[in-house]
Symmetry: C2
Subunit: 430 residues, 2 copies
C-alpha cells in the first residue's frame, strides 16, 4: 500500500467528513431502541442501496437461530427485528474478505429531564456529537460506511467481498449478529467500531441477564405481620448476589487479561418492579440482573451457581422458603471472548494491519485493552473461527445522559478503517 494511497484515503475521509457528521446526526435522530429500529434500518438500507451495494434485509426468525451456540433466550416474539446487510462483491477477489459490523439498536434514554437536550435531537457542541446512540454505536456505523466511501472516492473498491452489517439486538442478546452468521455471512475477519477510544479490544466479558420473580401472599397493611412483603424479600437476595459477585472477582478467579482489575465483573440490578397499591403488602416483585463473566467461564456453571445462591438466600427467609423465587433468563447468554487468545496467522495479520493503519493516522502505537462489557465480536470469534477486531471512536456516557462521541476521534477512526480495509482486502478499480 503506497504512501500516496494512504494520503488520498485520509484526504477523502476529510473531504466527506461534514457529510459524515450530517449522516450521523440524521441516524442518531432515529430513536432505534429495541423494537423501534425500523426507521433507522430504512435509512441505512436506502443509503447503502444508493451506493450500489446488494441489499439483504430480513426479519430475524427464531427458528433459524435458537439451536445455535451463542443464542440468547428472548421474551416475546421478534416482530420487526430486521437486519440489514449490504455486500460489495469484488470483481477480482484477490484479497481477504471482511465483515464490517455495527449495531443499530440503542438503549432507552431514561428520564428525559436528566438530559441537557432531547436525546433523539442530536447536536454538535465543542467537537462532540450529543445524542442517545451517537456513540454506542451509530458513529461506528458511519465510520464503516464512510471508510468504504473513501475508497470509492479514490476510484477504488476492496479487492475482496465485504459485508456491511447493520444489526439489531446487540444491546440485549446479540441475536442480530447471530442471525447474520446463520444466514451464511462469513469472512476472513470482522471489524466492529464499538466506542472504545481508539484502542483495540483484546478481550471482552461474558454477560448473563436474568430476572428474579418473587411472589407472596398480600394482605391489607393493617395485618402486615401476616403477609410477606415481596419487595423487601428481594433485598437479601440482592445482597447474596453481590456476595457472589465479590467471590467471582477474587484474584484467584481472574484470567490473565483481567488480572489487574479488582472489579471487572459487575452485577447490576438494572430494573426493579413490585407491588400494586401503597396500602397493600406487595404480593410480587421482579428484578432484572446483569452479571459479567470472564472469558472461559462456563455459562452453565455460572447459571447453576446463581440459582444456588438465590435458593440458599431464600432459605433464610420464612416467606421465600415457602415460595421459592423463580429465575427467568430473558436476554444475554453471552460467553466471554478474547481476541488476544487467537494465535492464528489470520488474527495476527489482521491485528498487525490495524496497528499499522492506526499508527499512520494517529502517530501513536495501538494500545490493547480488555473491556468489561460484551460486544457482537464473540459470534465471529467463538462460533465462526473469525478474528473480530473491536476498535472505534472515543465516546462518553454511553447508556447514560448526554451520551456523546468525539468527532475528531471519529474522523481518525474512519481514516484508520479506510487504510485497514485497503490493506486487508487489497484494492481493485471501482
Amino acid at each position: 500500500m503506497t504512501e500516496d494511497l494512504k494520503t488520498r484515503l485520509c484526504a477523502a475521509v476529510d473531504a466527506a467528513f461534514d457529510r459524515q457528521v450530517a449522516f450521523l446526526t440524521e441516524l442518531t435522530s432515529h430513536p432505534s431502541t429495541r423494537g423501534n429500529e425500523q426507521s433507522a434500518q430504512n435509512f441505512m438500507a436506502t443509503e447503502l442501496k444508493t451506493r450500489g451495494y446488494d441489499i439483504d434485509r430480513w426479519q430475524i426468525d427464531l427458528t433459524d437461530i435458537q439451536h445455535l451456540p451463542g443464542f440468547s433466550p428472548v421474551l416475546g416474539p421478534y416482530e420487526d427485528a430486521v437486519n440489514v446487510v449490504a455486500t460489495h462483491r469484488s470483481k477480482t477477489a484477490k484479497g481477504r474478505s471482511l465483515i464490517l459490523n455495527g449495531h443499530i439498536d440503542v438503549v432507552p434514554a431514561g428520564p428525559l429531564d436528566m438530559w441537557d437536550s432531547p436525546p433523539f435531537e442530536p447536536h454538535v457542541k465543542d467537537g462532540w456529537l450529543y445524542g442517545r446512540g451517537g456513540g454506542d454505536m451509530k458513529a461506528g456505523l458511519t465510520s464503516n460506511l464512510f471508510a468504504l466511501d473513501a475508497l470509492t472516492a479514490c476510484g477504488l473498491a476492496p479487492a475482496a467481498d465485504v459485508h456491511f452489517q447493520s444489526v439489531v439486538e446487540e444491546e440485549c442478546t446479540g441475536n442480530g449478529a447471530l442471525a447474520c452468521l446463520a444466514r451464511g455471512y462469513k469472512a476472513d475477519a470482522a471489524f466492529i467500531p464499538e466506542p472504545f477510544a481508539e484502542q483495540l479490544v483484546s478481550a471482552q466479558l461474558g454477560v448473563l441477564w436474568f430476572q428474579v420473580h418473587l411472589k407472596g401472599l398480600p394482605t391489607h397493611v393493617a395485618y402486615a405481620g401476616t403477609g410477606a412483603n415481596a419487595i423487601e424479600a428481594a433485598f437479601p437476595l440482592i445482597k447474596a448476589l453481590h456476595d457472589m459477585e465479590h467471590r467471582w472477582n477474587a484474584k484467584r478467579n481472574r484470567p490473565p487479561e483481567y488480572a489487574h482489575m479488582d472489579h471487572a465483573l459487575n452485577l447490576n440490578i438494572g430494573k426493579f418492579q413490585g407491588g400494586d397499591w401503597t396500602s397493600s403488602v406487595p404480593a410480587w416483585a421482579v428484578f432484572d440482573v446483569r452479571m459479567g463473566l470472564f472469558p472461559g467461564q462456563s455459562l452453565d456453571a455460572a447459571k447453576q451457581e446463581i440459582e444456588q445462591v438465590i435458593r440458599d438466600a431464600a432459605q433464610q427467609n420464612a416467606f421465600l422458603r415457602n415460595s421459592l423465587p423463580e429465575i427467568v433468563y430473558h436476554g444475554f447468554h453471552a460467553e466471554g471472548y478474547a481476541l488476544s487468545r487467537d494465535s492464528s496467522q489470520t488474527a495476527t495479520n489482521a491485528v498487525t494491519k490495524l496497528e499499522t493503519a492506526h499508527q499512520t493516522v494517529t502517530g501513536t502505537p495501538l494500545t490493547r485493552e480488555p473491556i468489561t462489557a460484551t460486544t457482537d465480536a464473540r459470534f465471529f470469534g467463538l462460533y465462526a473461527d473469525t478474528p473480530a477486531l473491536v476498535y472505534g471512536p472515543r465516546a462518553e456516557a454511553i447508556h447514560g445522559f448526554n451520551e456523546r462521541v468525539d468527532l475528531e476521534s471519529l474522523r481518525r477512526v474512519t481514516q484508520t478503517t479506510a487504510l485497514f480495509i485497503a490493506d486487508w482486502c487489497g484494492t481493485e478499480e471501482a
Copy 2:
C-alpha cells in the same frame, strides 16, 4: 321498639337475603378500582332510584375540598370520580338523622394467577362470597341498603332523614367522604359497615402515603463504579424508615387504645419501580410508602420527621448526598380517630343502641376493638362533630388474594343495622 318489630325486621332481612347475596355478587363483579368506579356507581344509583330515594350524583371537584381539614393530596385530576348519595326524607322528622356510608372503590387485584378464581367473577362457596371488594366493602354497602329495605318491607321508614352514601377514594385519600361533607351532608350519627368482624371499631389509626423519588447518573454497567445505582440507593432509606417505624411503636409513644399492641403502626413499602434497562446502571427509582400514625399524633410533625429521616439517611450515601431524594405526598393525609374518646351524649346513645341491636341479633355482647387501618369515619368524627360507628361483617384476605366475606355474618350485620336504624331514627309509616 317492640319485640314484634325486631322479629319482623330480622325476618324481612332473612326473606330478602338471597336477593341481597345476588346483589352483592353483581356489585362485586364491577371492577371498581380507583378510576373505574363508574359502572358500580351506575348500578348503585339505579338500584337506589328504583327504591324511590332522591339521588345526588356528582363528580368530585378539587376546588370544593382542597382547602378543608382532612383533605389528602392527589396526583392527577379527578376525572370520573363520582359520588352517589341517596336520601330518604322523613315525613315526620321526629327521630335522629343518620348517614349510612360505604365506599365503592376497591384495591387492585394483583397478579391474577394468585387467585383461585377470577377476582371480579365473584362466587359463593361454603358460606363465603369470594371476590375483590366483596368484603372491603361492598358487603357493607348491601347491608346498609337491605337494612333500609327491611324497614320498607315492614311498611315502615326511618323517622328522620337518612343519607345513603356510596363514595369513591376511601382506599387512597378519603376525599370521596370529604366531598360529601363539603356538599352539606350532615346527620346526628354516621354508620360505616367496614368488615371488622361484628366488632365496634373503638379507634383507628392515621395513615400517611408518600413517594420517595431517587435520581442518579446512569452509565453503562461496564463502568458501574462511576454511576450510582438508584435502585440500591433506596435500600438504606427503607432501612432508616423501618428504624423510625420501630421508634414510633415504642411503648412510651402508644396511646391507651393501642397500649397492648407491640406493632400497631406498620410502614409498608407498597410499590417500587426503578430502571429502564438491565445493562444500564439505573438512573431513577421511586418507592411508595404507607405509614400508620396514632390518634392524636400530628400529621405535620410526622411528615417533618419522615423528611428528616430520609435526609439523614441520604447523607450517609455519597450519591444521594449530591442528589437528595424528593418526597412527594400523593394520597392519605389521614389523622387517627377514636370513637372511644367521644364522650358526647350523642355518641354514648349511638353506641348503646348498636350494643342493643347487636345483642339482640347475635345473643352476645358487642366487643370494641381498635384497628390498625384508617376508614372514612374520621371525617365525621374529627371534622363534623358526628360520632361514626364502624361495624361490619367478617371478611378475610381484604387487599389479598381470594378476598372473601362471611355471608352469615353479613346477614347478622344487616339485621343489626336494621334494628339500629329503627331504634336510632325511630320509624314512621312508609
